[in-house]
């Protein structure tokens, strides 16, 4: 393979480079995969009405057209794509019909991420995304080089992100490895919310595929035959259990694919690097200069097992992009809480993580009352609706309403109490720490210097209870982090102390 690489990457004047020519091969293989995937059902369908050789000719011709067309298109793209890393700017020229030029100032480049799926890995290629992390809307601020050789990708990453030692912050923390994967962490995978979602998706997918082959009725019939003499309740239990089992298997598989070979490192240029992935390998870099804090995320299932995940709160992470980049900011997958705190501390170059050390101020009891009221309201709504319908229509619904009340009310109360216990805010060194949530509890440690404004909200009900919601706006992460239902006077004092000088001119003392 490497033999073809030598002569076909001419470095014409001005240092313009080409992508790796094997991209054409990759495109052909992908198209071939699609052709096989679509061709087999088409063949099965066509064989019904015509002779086998005719059906085969049709399908084969279609497949060849698809593969050749895809490869040709990609060849043109390869011919017309050039990139150049100059002293000042990184530039990309591309486009099939229209020539697009995009250029990024090198000093503004904040991330160089490498990903490689199985196909690219076999060929020793990677896809490179160079981003400035500016929220200009659309993908305008990223360059994507798809693909270059692995060595070239690594070279680009090092060259573009290395800013000498000037940016390396103070503090006792070493460079090098901050965390590696412990395979035992896989025990947190099945309790995540991915499992039930995958279970549902598996059941749905089974129905969909069987419908494609016109066998949906048969499938349902087969399931019914299995359960001929079983009561309805058991059928439901068995089906739910089956879906859950599928979900657990899926969650385990997904976890292995996502987190295999995970390591978190600090590199000399002041960059944090996350590497992970079994089949598709990913290398994500976050410049420490952009880091404004960390977020300790504890979804309910993971929290009950005493684990937590660590996310980065950094400016210019691909927050607006919804397509598969949700885990872009994760620095550590769900791991034992002590490990999470240790990693958070070393990421922030602190002796101990602010998310763990700060004694958080609890919120007033009025906040608990509000949460209980919401929870009871949410739980009683279906009960009331069912009861009214039961009285009007049929008695069966009254029993359902009773069951709902018995199940939902205690759950709601427990969640409300837990939500209240989770609430807290405090200041720990250079960080302000905010905790909230029950189903997904988050503890954010945000640099006090990273707060770029405050929003204070108070509804009519909050006004009567003497509560306010304080929101610290920031350029990083989600853009804003809120302290829900703090006592009005104490909360404002906290906000004022956390970020000196912003709130003070607008505060007045009463009484």
């Amino acid at each position: 393979m490497s033999g073809t690489g030598g002569g076909t990457r001419p470095e014409s004047g001005g240092g313009w480079r080409r992508l790796d020519p094997r991209t054409v091969l990759v495109a052909a293989l992908v198209m071939g995969g699609i052709a096989v995937g679509a061709g087999v059902p088409a063949f099965v369908g066509l064989v019904g009405g015509r002779p086998v050789w005719q059906a085969f000719t049709w399908v084969f011709t279609g497949a060849v057209l698809l593969v050749v067309g895809g490869a040709a298109l990609d060849y043109v793209r390869w011919r017309r794509t050039r990139y150049r890393i100059g002293a000042e700017r990184a530039e990309l020229r591309t486009g099939l019909l229209l020539v697009k030029r995009r250029s990024l100032a090198r000093e503004r480049i904040r991330s160089v991420d490498l990903t490689a799926n199985v196909l690219l890995r076999v060929l020793g290629l990677v896809k490179v995304r160079i981003g400035t992390g500016e929220q200009t809307g659309g993908g305008e601020s990223t360059l994507e080089l798809d693909p270059v050789t692995r060595e070239e990708g690594e070279r680009l990453r090092r060259e573009l992100l290395d800013r000498g030692t000037a940016t390396a912050g103070p503090g006792p923390h070493r460079e090098g490895e901050l965390a590696v994967l412990d395979p035992a962490w896989i025990r947190y995978a099945p309790v995540s919310f991915v499992a039930p979602a995958l279970g549902g998706a598996a059941a749905g997918g089974l129905m969909q595929v069987s419908e494609w082959f016109g066998a949906q009725g048969k499938l349902i019939g087969w399931v019914r035959d299995r359960f001929q003499d079983t009561p309805v309740l058991w059928i439901i239990v068995a089906l739910v259990a089956g879906a859950c089992a599928a979900g657990v298997v899926g969650a385990l598989g997904l976890w292995i694919e996502m987190w295999w070979n995970y390591r978190l490192e600090r590199e000399p240029g002041g960059t944090l690097r996350v590497r992970r992935g079994l089949f598709t390998t990913r290398s994500l870099s976050i410049e420490e200069r952009r880091l404004r804090g960390v977020e300790l995320v504890e979804p309910l299932g993971v929290r009950t097992l005493g684990a937590a995940r660590v996310d980065a709160v950094a400016t210019g992470l691909a927050a607006g992009e919804d397509s598969g980049h949700a885990d872009h900011k994760t620095l550590l997958p769900a791991a034992p809480r002590a490990t999470a705190q240790r990693v958070a501390a070393s990421v922030l170059r602190e002796a101990a993580s602010p998310t763990g050390t700060a004694p958080l101020t609890p919120h007033p009891r009025a906040a608990r009352t509000r949460r209980l009221r919401w929870a009871l309201g949410a739980a009683l709504l279906p009960v009331v609706v069912l009861t009214v319908l039961g009285v009007l229509v049929t008695d069966v619904l009254l029993y359902v309403a009773g069951v709902c009340a018995v199940v939902l009310l205690p759950v709601a109360v427990l969640l409300a109490l837990d939500a209240y216990r989770s609430l807290g805010h405090g200041i720990s060194g250079d960080y302000l720490v905010v905790r909230s949530g029950t189903v997904r509890r988050t503890t954010v440690a945000l640099q006090r210097g990273g707060v770029i404004g405050w929003t204070v909200k108070q509804s009519v009900f909050q006004r009567r209870a003497g509560l306010v919601t304080l929101t610290a706006t920031t350029a990083a992460g989600g853009g804003a982090y809120s302290v829900y239902d703090a006592a009005e006077s104490e909360g404002l004092g906290f906000a004022d102390e956390a970020v000196r000088g912003v709130l003070a001119p607008f505060l007045e003392r009463v009484g």
Binding site: K457, A475, E488, L492, L507, V510, G511
Partner: protein
């Protein structure tokens, strides 16, 4: 700020009085459209006529009340202030909101004038910061005041060092 209870003081300036008219026009439009739809339906659909006309009447009465009173309330609550260091705005009545953006964090200052706002010679000043959720809006300023304010903010922002993140 230690000891005693503290609270946010109201910003110094009220909006332009014409904003009441602007709000009323908006609320009036919001009321007239559903009332007209209901009334027209009532005129054509004979069987449901009493119900549709009743609904139209209820919406009309509620809308009229809201149109008359809510803007007066809003006008008392909506206030703004620009100091040397920050932009400070209070909005909302049922969900009151105070927003503070320090000068050093301001990235852009825009003035916007919709068609209705132009008719009332009003303008909206939008101050954005690097946070996607930190924009501060001052709606319903006299358009000349708004232009002058935007210019002043731009000057102060330019004079303040830092990259606003």
């Amino acid at each position: 700020m230690t000891g005693g209870t503290v609270r946010l003081r109201p910003p110094n300036n009220t909006l332009d009085r014409r904003v009441i008219g602007w709000w009323r026009t908006q609320l009036l439009l919001l009321t007239v459209v559903p009332v007209a739809v209901l009334a027209v339906l009532g005129a054509f659909v004979a069987p449901a006529r009493p119900w549709l006309l009743l609904a139209a009447g209820v919406v009309a009465v509620l809308g009229a009340a809201v149109t008359v009173f809510l803007p007066l309330w809003w006008f008392r609550v909506h206030r703004w202030e620009v100091t040397q260091d920050a932009v400070y705005v209070r909005t909302g009545f049922f969900w009151q909101e105070w927003r503070i953006a320090p000068m050093s964090r301001i990235q852009t200052v825009d003035t916007v004038r919709g068609p209705l706002e132009q008719a009332f010679r009003l303008a909206t000043v939008i101050v954005t910061t690097a946070s996607s959720k930190g924009a501060v809006k001052i709606e319903g300023l006299d358009h000349e005041l708004a232009a002058e304010l935007a210019e002043r903010l731009t000057l102060i922002t330019r004079a303040t060092p830092g990259d606003a993140t």
